[in-house]
Amino acid sequence: MTRTTIERPPAGFSRRGLLAAGGLSAAGVSFATSARSAPARAPAGPPARILDISLTVNGRANVLALDPRTSLLDALRDHLGLTGTKKGCDHGQCGACTVHLGGRPVLSCLTLAAAVREPVATIEGLAGPGGQLHPMQQAFIDEDAFQCGYCTPGQIMSAVACVSQGRAGSDAEVREFMSGNLCRCAAYPHIVAAIREAGGRQGA
């Protein structure tokens, strides 16, 4: 396990890096401002003190200087550069932000980073060291289990738990287990098929 302190995602040449660098343009500036979380209108209490927060993500230990209000989701996306986990509703209703905490799926949008005590696993940690896809990722591709793909990382994190917890025995069981992951494209029949397929391959 390596230990690093990361304040900002490392800048590499990427589509995302290029867009972020576009902050020089007027449009870029306004986008960057509106993308930040809305400032509090009037403080209820004392000004927030910045906390040093330890987060182990995908086997890597990090110490981040964060406002106590920072959700695990925002810590992953904005402070660790792990943007695979998606922000959908930001209120615990859609499941797009699902990650594993201590091996169990949770909603990172309703989890304060400061309240995390166990290791975090995200979609970026699923693939093997050589980049080979996790069987569930492969099954989602094979079964065409997404259209726009925005909910897919959350779907896959829940789907991995669905199989590992032995809850992929029937279509009905899969649907019940996966009910906290919404898909606005309604790819549900293909998602169920992918989970059944991956579950069968792994002997669930």
Binding site: A44, G45, P68, L110, L112, A114, R117, E176
Partner: protein, 274 residues
Amino acid sequence: MRPFAYRRAASALDAVQAAAGPPTEAPTQFLAGGTTLIDLMKLDAMRAETLVDLNDLSRELGGISAGADGLALGALARMSDAARHPIVRRDYPVIAQALDLAASQQLRNMATLGGNVLQRTRCEYFRDPSWTRCNKRDPGSGCAALEGVNRKHAVLGVGERCIAAYPGDFAQALAALEAEVEILGPGGPRAMAFEALHVEPGAAPEAETVLAPDDLITGFRIPARPWTRRSLYLKVRDRESYEFALASAAVALDLRNGTVNQVRIALGGVATKP
């Protein structure tokens, strides 16, 4: 979200002491799973000057144990832990079913039992502060739900000031099984009938329980009775899964030689309190 001070509690006593102090407009809140609190703080429907994080107390308050006299559930046990506990499933099925039929698997992995019984109403006029009239959020401001979209609001226990329904499921199972709730407060530990924990809105809808801001729920005791094993939770809702009850019932029967000796029924989804 408005700023707050954050601290971690080292023990239940430490948590209670951290929450003590003179009454303020935005009292200290205990943070456990956060599934209600963080959601409502983001919406600005709840405010807290300080959050006291209880997540280091799972060893002290997270246990589940059963004996001949009953079941003890720690307040920091997660919903999913209790729902899949083999003795809970076998001997207290209404509890396992009420927990399994609530929320989503992600939320059940997060939410604790103590937090679950304190979850706030789903009344949209309470949750959305752009509605100015809500006696629960802003005492004395009125109630927009009385003349609003209120199909899912409460029928029982309502008053002129509030018709918001209590949304939970687990609480009905506790009420049906005559559970006790254990509380640690500044005066030490105490226990009371779970049914006496929540109060009807009456003249003060902002007060949902008899708890003071520095009272901490530490656990629940469910006595083993002739009806605990023959019990179930029935939930009727607009969709099959991941939805609050339109109406629900926790039912426990003491059946002897084909005769119902005792029946206990707690209704959910239709009332202002469990």
